[in-house]
């Protein structure tokens, strides 16, 4: 599955997307922590199908997933 990265997280990762395979959101979180150096030092949220999800949920691979650093609009 393709994970979109934004802002300072994309900068940190050096790319605006990652390809990973994860069966759950917690599994994805662990993979992202490994793939993006310093991610644990950045406040961030994960959006699944355009909604921020805090808990663990099953992922089927068809979701639209994005890793979002703090917002700065306005």
């Amino acid at each position: 599955m393709r994970i979109r990265l934004f802002g300072m997280i994309a900068e940190k990762a050096g790319t605006d997307h990652l390809e990973v395979n994860a069966g759950s959101l917690d599994e994805l979180r662990a993979m992202l922590a490994q793939r993006i150096q310093g991610l644990d030092g950045i406040r961030h949220a994960i959006a699944v199908d355009r909604r921020i999800v805090q808990s663990d949920i099953v992922l089927t691979g068809s979701e639209e997933i994005a890793v979002l650093p703090p917002f700065a609009g306005g």
Partner: protein
């Protein structure tokens, strides 16, 4: 000017700064709506913030557009639910590099009376700052950059 009542997703984003003349044009479009008595407009301008010897020359805005537009549609519908007398709500946010002194954000509400438009603008601005996935890279005069973060 009644399309806001439908649940379609409007694009709030525009490339580059908001032209002050565009605000004037937006205002002028309401002259035919003679049920309007009050317009309230909030404009965000890029500030040459100074701290620790650094000075912001510009902000480069990016967004997770699809999610931002979905969130904005929800916020818009909630706003019309809270202030049913509101006649129009126009929101624009810049993407790309916006220099200090340029406008990057507009929230413009109109209503028969002042309280609805004033309260709606304040509430919509708060919601946008908190909920829309928009990211800002502060480009510093002396080179380098920092990431803007909205607080609270």
């Amino acid at each position: 000017m009644n399309e806001h009542r439908h649940h379609k997703v409007k694009d709030i984003f525009l490339d580059g700064a908001i032209d002050p003349a565009f605000v004037g044009t937006s205002i002028a479009k309401h002259a035919t709506r003679t049920d309007i008595g009050a317009h309230e407009i909030f404009l965000g301008q890029v500030r040459a913030d100074e701290a620790d010897g650094r000075r912001v020359a510009a902000i480069e805005y990016t967004a997770y557009r699809e999610m931002a537009l979905e969130r904005m549609t929800v916020i818009r519908e909630e706003a019309f639910g809270k202030w049913p007398e509101m006649t129009c709500l126009h929101v624009h946010h810049s993407l790309g590099i916006i220099k200090a002194g340029e406008l990057c954000f507009m929230v413009f509400a109109s209503a028969p009376h002042r309280s609805a438009s004033r309260e709606a603008v304040s509430w919509v601005v708060d919601r946008i700052k908190a909920e829309l996935p928009i990211f800002g890279k502060e480009m510093l005069e002396q080179g380098g950059h920092e990431w803007k973060v909205n607080h609270g």
